[in-house]
Symmetry: D2
Subunit: 485 residues, 4 copies
């Protein structure tokens, strides 16, 4: 069934007192109204609202067993599903102008679905059954799931077992009859604290002696001994201060910038029916491949959605400056559009060339998913640069909106900040801050690091190339006439 | 029915005495054995051979009315068809290592199919019926069709009517009861002289007073007053000389480099049943859009097929140099692969987002087709650069194979030209010449100009952007808080 | 004579009560200790300290009439001077890791020097003499000069006279016997409020009817009716909050990020001896060309200095992560170095090809200065991207340093934030914040907009090309054999 | 003294019967009139002619001991000399539109000058004295010197001693009282056979056990047992055929494309006074560094000269097409100009930062020389791409000029090939062929491989970075506040 934003907000209200969140060093008491957190909650309510719109039926939603469910909690079952998943990413992000916060949940669900199927098929375990039970609950309530993958990793030149630091990688420290106890820390987990469910998966391919690190499970944020430390970007303080002032001019973004968490698993008990892998190290590689196939492929339309917003924001800024129709500006706007479409195209292709997993799930093509990730970086960075070119210096040099109230100067400052007469100074300031998100905010790094850094994709493609090279060389020999066909 | 290379060769043999072809200033008497032309004939026979392979059934071929026909003469009828069309382009080109020569035919067929349907629907004409009759013949015999689009254009700053030169644009000079008489010249027409049929379409959107230039028709190369002047690239002479020497070391390419023709229509009579547009200027824009949608979208996988060949050739050269496994070389090979996949992805996306024309035909998305063209240039040029980096100076500095026969020096020259001991000097020379096609041949220009120069795609996208910009700006206003949703 | 930081600080202390500055909407009482402003004061004191170092003699300083003066207030008198100017930019910025704040002063001094010479030579005025008197004072006290060029410009599609807004461009509103009264606003003026002197010049080439806008003068920040509104970037709030906490972990940067001002000239009286142009519109174009020649050329080594800091910061982050020696990381570090050197090289070349102005001043080559600006954007953006790749997600997702003090969790959070054992969690946080300046701070926009946006350089180069094209075409004709030499 | 083209031609005429050259497998009897070789002779005579022009005095020439000599045989003695050397490269190449053939001679002279000085200083040998005697002769007669560096190298994964092939690297096979006997082969040696002198240097840093390969000497092309095998690019055949036809329409280039040689040293005797290194392996690294410092730095202005020609040729083609003033065309022309200037700037910078060698010679900065090489590739490849975009398909699809003579069709073909009415069809064909040199000729590979492939420069820069990184990291620590200054 499709969820509503009210359901979600009610659930969060009920649980908030039990979720242990820190923002800027302070314990959060009122999660729903915390200025740093609130925009991410708005994102999630927006995902519910959009899913209910008629025009997005079959895209943001999908029929399963005669019930309409949210694609964000769905296991994709056809190439068309994958394509609709790509479309849904673009639609969500072009409306939200920020990470939609639920995309990792979708990808985690799809990864663990296929992976538990693999394990059970080979080892006669019951992980898939467990997972289906959990998933049924998630789907029927349209719960918000976040996947927690990236371990804090300690010294990156060393493996899990060589770390001095027991929090470097999440792992099982004790196995009880009714469940396991896990310790460790994950970082960069988008929106984790405000999810209904967190789906934990390993961060890397584990080896035989790293069995305790081959662990996957679901957990609710309010679970005992789970702690959330929010990211604390300068824009978070801007957000807070803007709220304190009772205005949103300096931080107009209803959906904020990306908010992530460091999660401390401080010896957390996970009951068995929520454990989806415990020690089956030989399946970690595939689990991660399933996840990143979905996530990197989905990253293309995700960035296209961003590009739509950047294009609109840059054009709006150009209009507020009075130069929207200048030929140089139009050329640069076109650059933004082109780069967005190219990222979109790559992601679509990864979907179209997806394959059927034995479980019935469809998974995007791994090769093209990696291509999508790498190309998206190239494309979106250029879109960002173009918007910084169009936007002008005001996108980073804007004064505070409070300066519009300085006694004796306010009118003159307002005059000085006006561009095109159709926009007030306040409006122009708002637009500058909107664009600031892209040209001086956290998205550039998110673009590069999200879904794994370029080194990871390059390694995957290099392995892939090894498998193809021989055939291509033999073909070249024929063409050079040094071998007969 | 699927054709065979024998059928094609027999047809060509029968007609060759009537086709008026000039190569290097000389009238060609024996088309089949002309060294400049022969490789393009080999390409075409290869397209027949590949279409008969089981592994490509449903890709290179397609079932239509319970008959298996060649996709190269098929009107695409679904998104899946379009995707298979993309796959077929890559398969053909990765086997041929050159333009497959029949791709423009496919795109012309699809363009005129939709376009004649449009005209008839609006104007109650009979073009579509005529075209279907012609197409039936083409499909049943699996004929080789080339589309002739690009007019020589004279002074590009002027339109057709302002040209001093009556050959600048193909146009109707006389209308008779049973047909029309056309005059003008088309250029860059790949493989035109060796086609079974040439499908002529306008080169640009025509205006009301350019009615005589809004003309489309089919013609056989052997038609009276049609003359073909072959391109005369330095590699053509290389090809000729190599053949004269009775060796193919210096020009090993069985499928040659791209061979194109200047076609002179010297007052050619075209009977009415072969005329598919005559004066309906208002449909020229759409006709061209249909053509380039197919052609630019197909250009992505086309370039991916090239990248496959470049990757294999560069790797083979690296192996012949003894450095295939060097880490720098592997990085650069990966660059080639990446760029090929990115071009492929763009093309696939244009196919997936294709739409149904009222005639039932499916046409690739125009926006993404333009993106595909522009991105393909960026990608393939980098693949070419990487192969020039890997290949080394020998790709342009190789001596003649005849130098291997110099008395008293032949052994020493052979020693000097050897790299990796697993390859003879002759083999290494052949590989260098194979790579020379890409790093110093006509493909770089073909890549940029084929399907229309970048200026054309940019213009199309700019128009497209205009239609989208308002909505995106309004959306940005909401995000900046200067407008309510 | 070379100034000292103490002299500067004393001057500022004396004047601070008279300077009208607003930061975040609040009047600044204690300029020296304002957390948002202080880092820029540190930059300036650093420029004095570095100029006194022996190793930089002749580079940061220069002998003039047997006196050693700071190059930052010097009029360049030879090609070697220009080269040393380039070196000084890199030295300053690689030590400061931020704009050195005094570079625009240097460029303004050099621009007005040549320009007043031009005017006097042609019109028999006394601007140059006036300017020399002012300059003598500046040089003898080693004063901090900032050039204020960029007008707020109002609606950019309209010229000064068409603006509804009287503050859009700085202009003369009244001419008195002893001076002029100016009105208008300038924006993006780096460090203006803490300068000793502000040198005002026009923002664009003025036309005959825009005489009142062709005005140049020097003014002290404490002058009556001059108001400064500081930029208010999220990092400014971070800076402020960090200071409030009595720690600098979250904002460790001693020299801050770029701090700029909106200056309101609210009918300001400027005595005649400080007016260096008043109505001589026909010299505005050259004045601006002189300025941007110095400024865009100097922008190359400026960016190279930044690249040095980015390289060091990224390498430090990599070390703190334990991956400094990984081959992928080394490749990316090399990318940063390469791009820095390329920007440096372009700037050096503009200096070397500089020319002698009739006044005796040497001015960098205009063409190469424009090239330097455009290339610097391309290069430094890639350096930034590479550092974002190396730096990882922590550069934008780092928690607050206050989280290290959460009771009961502090140890575990510290464990989770540690990478390489040689660095504490606090140290790793500091490094992440250092890199944040580059990957999510205002420098990306500064890079693009500083010295004029790309459109300005492209226009200049296009005009330049027009002058060269004919000769090159004639030369090509000779090479094509269609014209005799 | 400055030489003249007549002197050179006379010398060549005298010696030609003794030079053993093969072109296309055939022994060359008449070197001066061989169609493949002649253009390279024209290049050399052009270098003499240009050096005599007043406007290039002090640039192409230089005063030494009160005598004016050609900079091409000069040892650079100041920074200004290095800058003039950069200028000379651009001047030569922008006139010649091809490699100037004598640049490697200059760089070899400068490398061996410094290197023999090093050896003598350390080992008390007499190489420098010998070299000075040889150089005196070269300078006084203004001889054409070519440096032969690149060995054929056999299997690149193995060192000289591991090769099965005795010709892989040039080395000493016997030492006699009065000289040495050398064996081996060098390749890619531009214009070697038509030089007055060939200066042979090692291709790589040699190790202790590779002493026999650490050999440098001068030799005349007519020396016994030296054999030259010309490169045999398709354009060579075009050149030959065009000459046979008695026309130059299809190959109008007076200075041809790059012509290189494979040189076989078939046990060649070199008298002692021409030997400049024999066994001093520990100096090979520096010798090569000196050479590539000059050569890679000089490569920047070299490519700028090419860009000048490309710009002129592309503009001429655009004019012949009637679109010179189209805004898209002007933008692309500007791209060519920009890229040329950027390559120029990099080279200039390497010169300006040159250093004084103990011998008194000035050598360009090694770091910036490597930067110049790498940047030149990026820049010129884009210039080439832009010219292919502007030039259109005719640059590779042009028919033969003989087609203009086809009976009965010649007028119509001429009509079809005309663009702008101000150009005849023949002229337009010539222009297309001029541009073909760049878009489908050997220069793209030459650009990448000349002066050593990118892998070589990257390695050098990586070593360089290692030396700088520590300081930069320590500086970053200060900025992050984790270390005191």
């Amino acid at each position: 069934m499709l969820g509503t934003s009210n359901d979600y907000l009610n659930r969060l209200k009920e649980r908030e007192k039990d979720i242990d969140i820190y923002v800027g060093g302070e314990k959060v008491e009122d999660v729903l109204n915390n200025p740093v957190i609130r925009p991410s909650i708005n994102v999630i309510t927006k995902t519910y609202e959009l899913s209910l719109k008629n025009e997005y039926k079959g895209i943001l939603t999908v029929m399963q067993d005669n019930e309409e469910i949210n694609r964000l909690v769905y296991v994709e079952k056809s190439i068309n599903d994958l394509i609709m998943r790509a479309e849904s990413q673009r639609i969500l992000n072009s409306h939200i102008g920020n990470c939609n916060y639920r995309c990792t949940g979708h990808d985690g669900i799809n990864a663990v679905y296929a992976s538990t199927y693999d394990i059970d098929s080979k080892l006669n375990t019951e992980y898939h059954k467990r997972f289906l039970r959990w998933l049924k609950d998630v789907q029927s309530k349209d719960l918000v799931v976040e996947t927690a993958m990236t371990d804090v990793k300690g010294n990156r030149s060393k493996g899990p077992l060589e770390q001095k630091n027991d929090f470097a990688y999440v792992h099982v420290v004790e196995r009880k009859k009714d469940g396991i106890i896990v310790r460790g820390a994950k970082m960069h987990i988008t929106g984790a604290a405000i999810a209904d469910e967190i789906l934990v998966i390993p961060t890397k391919n584990m080896k035989q002696n790293e069995r305790d690190y081959a662990v996957s499970f679901a957990i609710k944020p309010e679970t005992k001994n789970v702690h959330f430390i929010s990211s604390w970007h300068p824009m978070d303080i801007m957000k807070k201060v803007s709220k304190d002032l009772g205005t949103d001019i300096d931080y107009p973004l209803p959906f904020g910038h990306r908010n992530t968490y460091l999660i401390i698993f401080d010896d957390v008990f996970v009951p068995n029916d929520r454990v989806f892998m415990d020690g089956e190290y030989e399946f970690t590689g595939k689990l991660i491949e399933y996840f990143v196939s979905h996530h990197r492929a989905g990253g293309g339309p995700c960035k296209a959605g961003f590009a739509d917003v950047i294009l609109g924001s840059a054009a709006l800024m150009a209009d507020a400056n009075g130069v929207l129709n200048a030929s140089y500006i139009q050329d640069r706007l076109l650059d933004i559009m082109r780069h967005g479409e190219s990222a979109y195209a790559a992601g679509l292709a990864a979907m179209v060339k997806g394959y059927r997993h034995p479980s019935g799930e469809y998974i995007p093509d791994f090769r093209l998913a990696n291509i999508t990730k790498l190309d998206s970086i190239e494309h979106l960075k250029e879109a960002i640069i173009a918007s910084a070119d169009i936007g002008g210096g005001i996108t980073v040099n804007a004064p505070s909106s409070k300066d519009l109230n300085i006694e004796g100067l306010s009118n003159k400052i307002a005059e000085a900040l006006k561009g095109n007469e159709n926009y007030t100074a306040e409006e122009r300031l708002r637009i500058a801050r909107l664009l600031q998100l892209w040209v001086a905010g956290p998205h550039l790094v998110g673009l590069i690091q999200g879904g794994g850094p370029p080194a990871a994709e390059l390694l995957a493609l290099k392995n892939d190339m090894k498998n193809r090279l021989n055939d291509l060389i033999e073909n070249a020999k024929i063409m050079a006439g040094i071998k007969k066909e």
